[in-house]
């Protein structure tokens, strides 16, 4: 029930953001932000109530993971907004949030029993850090996409919907970098805490189960991206494409692995 309410809140906010994108009226943008903030608060309440319902941190089912993903993206964006003014970023971010919430709404909301081995303080730490990292990577994806769209119009010299609405390439490039420099340490921390938890639960730091392998692949992708950026100056379009590819890797680690390559993490369904 609470979840449905926040879902509706996100939909409303996204619709308003799209209207703002078309009309560019500042009042509409303020309304969209308020709606997003409201939905974010509702969503927070939803997650807290799930915590009490389950008796443990609600991050073990597919529904909870996706819901938390959307939640962390919402708050990452809202906290971001105070520091950065990036024109029309909200439209793109809210679309992704709504998509995640829709996927959440379509999956089963039943609460799974937590195996005793996994009942640990590492659960909230590892899972939340890893998913918040994903939230930042998702924002990196949005800024990468915006960069590609703006770059295309500037290169083709055909000035359509995006030229006037999207911010400058420089601003978008900075945004990509910012998302990655926040997201990457979180991703690193997520993997480290995960291995500590693994040691506690299963006795070894690293199992090479598909989820672990793929998060390592994702980690290497982002690490290479940042390295190349600072050393060889991979910026602009290449960085934007890499941010998009990186996010696809994130999604694969999150879903592809769970559904295609079962392993010890497979309870997260």
């Amino acid at each position: 029930m609470l979840f449905s309410l926040s879902l509706i809140g996100y939909y409303l906010s996204t619709t308003t953001y799209i209207i703002f994108f078309i009309t560019q009226k500042k009042k509409i943008r303020s309304a969209a932000r308020c709606l997003l903030f409201g939905a974010g608060v509702l969503h927070t309440v939803t997650i807290i109530s799930r915590y009490f319902l389950a008796g443990h941190t609600p991050l073990t089912t597919h529904f909870d993971t996706v819901s938390f993903f959307a939640w962390s993206m919402t708050w990452a964006f809202l906290s971001f907004r105070w520091r950065y003014q990036v024109k029309n970023f909200g439209t793109f971010v809210s679309l992704v949030i709504s998509a995640l919430m829709t996927i959440g709404a379509l999956s089963s909301q039943t609460i799974a029993e937590l195996p005793p081995a996994l009942q640990s303080a590492w659960l909230p730490v590892h899972a939340s850090i890893a998913i918040i990292a994903d939230g930042f990577m998702a924002m990196g994806f949005c800024s990468g996409l915006m960069y590609i769209l703006q770059e295309r119009e500037l290169k083709k010299k055909r000035f359509g919907v995006f030229y006037s609405r999207l911010p400058s390439l420089d601003a978008l490039d900075n945004l990509i970098q910012h998302c990655l420099t926040v997201g990457f340490p979180l991703l690193t921390l997520g993997i480290i805490t995960g291995s500590f938890w693994a040691k506690q639960a299963w006795g070894a730091y690293w199992h090479w189960d598909p989820k672990e392998t793929w998060s390592l692949i994702t980690w290497f992708l982002y690490a290479a991206m940042l390295h190349q950026r600072f050393i060889a100056g991979w910026r602009g379009k290449r960085a934007a494409i890499l941010a998009i590819i990186g996010f696809i890797a994130v999604l694969f680690t999150l879903w592809g692995v769970t559904f295609l390559l079962p392993g010890v993490h497979s309870y997260v369904r």
Binding site: K155, R158, F159, S164, S168, L169, D170, G233, G236
Partner: protein, 430 residues
């Protein structure tokens, strides 16, 4: 002199793409157009205008078909355009249409960027160059001078210049879309022409921190650099400088490309892929069009820049409409003048002027002399009439004497000036 003998033949950014226009640029030998046009049969007066966006010949000619053909051949002599295709790129205006066109050009209504201020100066230069070489005569002298005053009138009466967005303005807009803001960015001007100067001025106003000028002759580079507290370098240092700057404005008069894609590739590596915004305002083009295919390089030429300005064009449309009305009005006035430039209207105007002076003076004198009889008054009036007739007899005879077409125009113009016949018209205009 019939209005239809005034013609304008040319190409501009609307009728011909930059690839065609650049083949018509006359950079190598500035005397050639005058030499060639003088030889054109039937071309009585002419003025030759060549700018980034247009090449036009404004001329008068009594036998037209032959003259037009010769001028077409002159314009396209060095181009790859086939004779059959020439008509696709040119426009030919005649009579009232030609006058309107010239006024619109002068007032910057026909410019790529409507309202940009450079064209009037360029037209004045073109006129001076033609007039200094005795290529213009009565009609074009008057027409061009009128064009300048029409342009001035439009500039003061409408807001078209206030909104004066030029190519450099468009460049600034784009630079902001690439770099966000221009504070602390560096610009490199290649070629020290007027266009480069104007672009630099706009960019500096937006916060550019350093201007570097590269030019073939270092002296001109130094002069321009001084204006912006920048530094001057030789063209040999072009590549080294490109590693440091963010924006490059190229406007050299070079006949070929000065920068190729292969040359910039290693430079981008050195720059660590920092974006590079290249603006090519030269015709013929300076920069390899393939440069735009490189990552993080944004190349815009004159035609591309016009599309950016298109975005805020609507706002200026209303002002442009008011300007168009002024053009129509002024065209009608010029047509009236041309009509008056015939023999009969000139003689009539001459008589009218003399008569009105005589009548006014008679009235003034007679009002003091109350003692005169009616017969006396009649004699005095008759005397005044005879004086007028005798004074005007020789000038009118002189005007009527058969002469060549051109002399007739000169004589009429001279007579009208000596007797101040056009002043009446001007006063009515005010």
């Amino acid at each position: 002199m019939s209005v239809d003998s005034i013609l304008i033949l040319g190409v501009n950014h609307k009728t011909a793409p930059v690839e065609v226009r650049e083949q018509l640029a006359f950079t190598s030998d500035p005397e050639r157009p005058f030499r060639k046009l003088r030889e054109v049969p039937g071309c009585a007066e002419f003025c030759f205008l060549s700018t980034c966006n247009r090449v036009e010949v404004i001329f008068t000619s009594p036998h037209q078909a032959e003259t037009i053909q010769a001028i077409k051949q002159f314009l396209f002599a060095n181009s790859s355009v086939k004779e059959k295709e020439i008509d696709n790129f040119i426009y030919l205006h005649r009579g009232a249409e030609a006058i309107t066109h010239l006024y619109r050009v002068a007032a910057s209504l026909d410019s790529m960027v409507v309202g940009e201020p450079q064209i009037l100066g360029q037209l004045k230069d073109a006129y001076r160059n033609s007039a200094d070489r005795q290529c213009t005569g009565v009609i074009l002298n008057r027409l061009l001078h009128k064009a300048f005053s029409v342009a001035k009138r439009i500039r003061t009466e409408t807001n078209i210049g206030g909104n004066a967005v030029s190519i450099s303005y468009a460049a600034v807009e784009l630079a902001k879309k690439i770099f966000g803001h221009l504070d602390g960015k560096k610009v490199l001007l290649v070629g020290a022409g007027e266009m480069a100067e104007l672009a630099a001025e706009h960019l500096v106003n937006q916060g550019i921190s350093e201007v570097i000028v590269a030019n073939r002759t270092l002296e001109r580079a130094v002069n321009l650099a001084k204006r912006f507290n920048g530094k001057a370098v030789g063209l040999a240092e072009l590549h080294a400088q490109m590693e440091l700057v963010d924006i490059m404005v190229s406007s050299t008069g070079a006949s070929g490309l000065i920068l190729l894609q292969e040359e910039v590739k290693p430079i981008m590596k050195q720059r660590k892929n920092r974006p590079l915004f290249l603006i090519d305002i030269a015709v013929p083009r300076d920069l390899d069009p393939k440069l735009n295919d490189l990552d993080n390089v944004y190349l815009y030429d004159v035609d591309d820049l016009s599309q950016v300005v298109e975005v805020n064009k609507a706002e200026r449309e209303q002002e442009a409409q008011r300007a168009e009305r002024i053009v129509t009005e002024e065209t009608l006035k010029f047509l009236q003048w041309i009509e008056d430039m015939q023999l009969t209207p000139t003689i009539a105007a001459l008589r009218r002027k003399a008569d009105s002076i005589a009548q006014a003076e008679l009235a003034r004198t007679l009002s003091h002399c109350s003692s005169l009889s009616a017969r006396d008054i009649k004699s005095i009036e008759k005397m005044a009439g005879t004086i007028i007739n005798k004074i005007l007899h020789d000038p009118i005879l002189f005007l009527k004497e058969g002469h060549s077409h051109e002399d007739k125009g000169l004589k009429l113009d001279f007579a009208r000036k000596i007797f101040g016949l056009d002043l009446e018209l001007e006063e009515k205009e005010e």
